[in-house]
Symmetry: C2
Subunit: 488 residues, 2 copies
């Protein structure tokens, strides 16, 4: 966009909204230059802060009118660059849409605006004995709108699933500025499940302006243990044994020696000395169930070489167990100047083997990897450590990071578990999908956003115009395509 | 299609497949004229029985080449006419694709072909301690492909969710005959969740040719009780009390007096005499949990006026409890020559009020209604009884049936809980969605199937050509549309 065009769009929006809702001051724009993945930085041309769904729709229509791309942003805590601004585009920040519109614990539902903070939903529901289940590590600051865009998970998705399992209805601004409703209040809305398709679409199909979520009954009992193992093999075997016993823990988290070292340095969580790996296992549910299963989990940890087991005596001790885990990403900054947070998924049964392979790949490249992950559902978060000041390290780390994703795919897993594709992983998508598979996804994007104005450049590896997506007629006579021409 | 055209397409398909896989004999075609909703009957022009995904794709490409509509059919047990044939179209029957391709209980996954019977998945997984959770009443004969098309539920969706919660990956034939993969093995695949959009799309986005499903660990313990109440108010209050206590039963099923009468007449299930309503409550899970909660459920039933409670002593008695419930639809044939099976959803908390209103509406019209439903999740199945031989009764029943759906919508519910929209409910869809909401769904259909050859006439109330779906440019200058022109 030229400066004249930016100025004109800013003027249009200031007149339609309030002047303070439109930011075009270069210094202020810079505060929005990245999301939680700071390795990509782009200053947007304009930032707009709508207050209502109608204002969101108006901003989108203004962008469409000027053929200007737009990117939605919640709290900006995403880890795949999904909310990375477009240099010639408008960044639509939804943080001022922050009302909890309806709270109906008896029906296990709440209706919230996208700027509502994840934990605020739980805080509102707690007095009624309910909570909102998806709990990304950033839950104190991340927004529901961002969670919807990225289909966020969390430590407890093993038992409770992802954001998509907890969103029933949406009001969205489509990429041409219409306000429409998808899904609703019922557990299964008729017609296409566009809620499912929208959740995790990372702003490329529009902007959520209202979200109907499921509330979950707070469990009667929560018990948490921390078990120390000689290494990740033993901890992985314990995890498999727990799941195989039919226990579905609320969470099974693993950290390896390097991750423990980092967490100790940062938050002094006091994990057992000499542990090659720790598991945090949390059970929740009715007291009778939790108590019975907890004893079994303890036994299975011991059977698999746990040399120390601590049981949280109260909420304070539970919080301390979790503190090390939840601060692990930031904590590696203590032991390495730079690092890449990777996110991949493997079948849980392949855990020990894949961890060994990651160790080998890291050793071959002379790069250190700290492993922190949701062991129960095979969602790995290898932290690839490097020093940008040392020639070639960043490249080796980046290469290793990609090799780890190849490993995940080779074992039948996925290139992202819960952080989304965003800007960061678009290039890896072809490792999982064929061109035909990706073109099928493009059909949906092009149907919603043929001009590619809604968060362009995210998710899909190859920017292509919608006219280029193979249509239904491919040129040849259809019977030749059908492989049937010869029978005539 | 003219007879010449049918003959030509039949010839093409016979040459490409085997002669016996293509049916054009009028008498044999007639066996396919309806699905489980026998009030609609259409004889297809041609029936084809492919053996493989590649053959399915070939048939679709042949249809596309001749511009002939096609409809996929599994076992034909659907209750919304979703598999109703097209008179000028090809019916593609997937029942011969019946291999369980992969069974990986350790990873809690199975890969099956669409013609595999629902219960066969559970039978295959059972020796390993696993089962396939979605259990429609027809599970002994319905197919996984049909379950995917209709997003089938079942008595246990209260705890375990719908088909969509258990399908992770699909291979599908797109409406232009390409074979593509959606989703995969991982719990959350990157990119758009087209699996979510495809499940429940009733054959309008293509045909599933391979389905990756989640296997669920068989519970350690299952306990079932049958409680008799004076009426549905008390039974509804007991249901609410159970859920409010934080218990998540595997199933809470209710039948009213008329439904009980029908079931007794048909299968002699021996439900308690004089019951105005019965509840079947089933708990499953770890024994410790089930035992503790079962005692609570029993107490809550008594507190809410249950006058008799029976506890299943063994699998045989449990089966007897369920026999009455599962045969209820067919059983009403004993007490009424004709009936409509309705399917709607309301918030569970509105249950007593909505049941009273249904009673009033029925009385006003002089029509009887038997109520059988999944009380736990508010999924009603009113059976509207009538005698087609009596002038005007069918119309009154049909009108009442629609009025019940209006009631569901008025209470914030849905026009279908688990039977799908199909042919039967397309006309009701505008009661839940605005034109803009429906056009948003059409965007997806038109992206996948611009020629409207894949199961045309289902789901959407108004057949419209894809060119008629409002595109992104609506004619007026975009700034006028944006409501911003005045600021220039």
């Amino acid at each position: 966009m030229s400066e004249v065009e930016i100025g004109r769009l800013a003027g249009v929006l200031r007149a339609a909204l309030a002047a303070e809702q439109v930011i075009d001051d270069r210094a202020r724009l810079r505060t929005y230059e990245c999301d939680g993945l700071a390795q990509y930085r782009v200053v947007p041309a304009l930032v707009v802060l709508p207050h209502t769904a109608q204002e969101c729709a108006l901003v989108v229509r203004a962008c469409v009118a000027e053929n200007v791309p737009f990117v939605a942003r919640g709290s900006g805590t995403g880890l795949s660059g999904g909310a990375l601004p477009h240099a010639d585009g408008v960044l639509i920040v939804t943080s001022r849409l922050r009302a909890i519109t309806e709270l109906a614990p008896d029906d296990e539902r709440a209706v919230v605006e996208p700027g509502v903070i994840n934990l605020a939903v739980t805080r509102a529901a707690a007095p009624h004995g309910y909570y909102y289940a998806p709990d990304p590590s950033s839950q104190q600051i991340c927004s529901i709108g961002g969670n919807v865009a990225e289909n966020s998970g969390g430590a407890h998705c093993l038992k409770y699933g992802f954001t998509t399992n907890h969103v029933l209805g949406l009001q969205v601004v489509t990429p041409d500025g219409d306000l429409v409703r998808l899904g609703g209040w019922a557990p299964d809305s008729p017609g296409y499940d566009l809620v499912g398709a929208f959740v995790g679409s990372e702003g490329t199909l529009g902007i959520a302006t209202e979200v109907t979520v499921r509330l979950v009954r707070a469990p009667e009992s929560v018990r948490t243990l921390l078990a120390a193992f000689p290494g990740t093999d033993a901890a992985g075997a314990a995890t498999s044994a727990i799941i195989a016993a039919g226990v579905v823990p609320a969470a099974v988290e693993m950290m390896d020696a390097l991750a423990i070292e980092a967490a100790e340095a940062a938050v002094h969580c006091g994990y057992p000395d000499g542990a090659g790996a720790v598991l945090i296992v949390e059970l929740d549910g009715p007291t009778a169930e939790v108590d019975a299963q907890f004893a079994e989990v303890e036994r299975l940890c011991r059977d698999n070489a746990a040399f120390e087991i601590r049981i949280a005596a109260d909420d304070a001790e539970r919080a301390l167990f979790w503190k090390g885990r939840k601060s692990a990403f930031a904590a590696v900054g203590r032991i390495s100047p730079d690092y890449i947070v990777q996110d991949g998924v493997i079948p849980r049964t392949a855990l020990p083997e894949v961890l060994r392979r990651i160790g080998e790949l890291a050793a071959e490249r002379g790069v250190r990897v700290a492993n922190v992950f949701h062991a129960g559902d095979g969602n790995l978060h290898p932290l690839v450590l490097f020093d940008d000041a040392i020639e070639g390290q960043a490249e080796r780390a980046e290469e290793l990071s990609g090799a780890i994703l190849d490993l995940c795919v080779a074992y039948g897993g996925s290139i992202t578990g819960e952080h989304g594709v965003g800007m960061d992983k678009a290039k890896y998508l072809p490792r999982m999908y064929t061109d035909d598979d990706l073109d099928t996804m493009q059909l949906l994007r092009c149907a919603f956003d043929p001009r590619a104005l809604a968060n362009p450049g995210k998710i899909f590896p190859t920017p292509r115009l919608c006219g280029e997506v193979p249509g239904r007629h491919k040129g040849a006579h259809p019977l030749q395509e059908a492989g049937l021409a010869e029978v005539f």
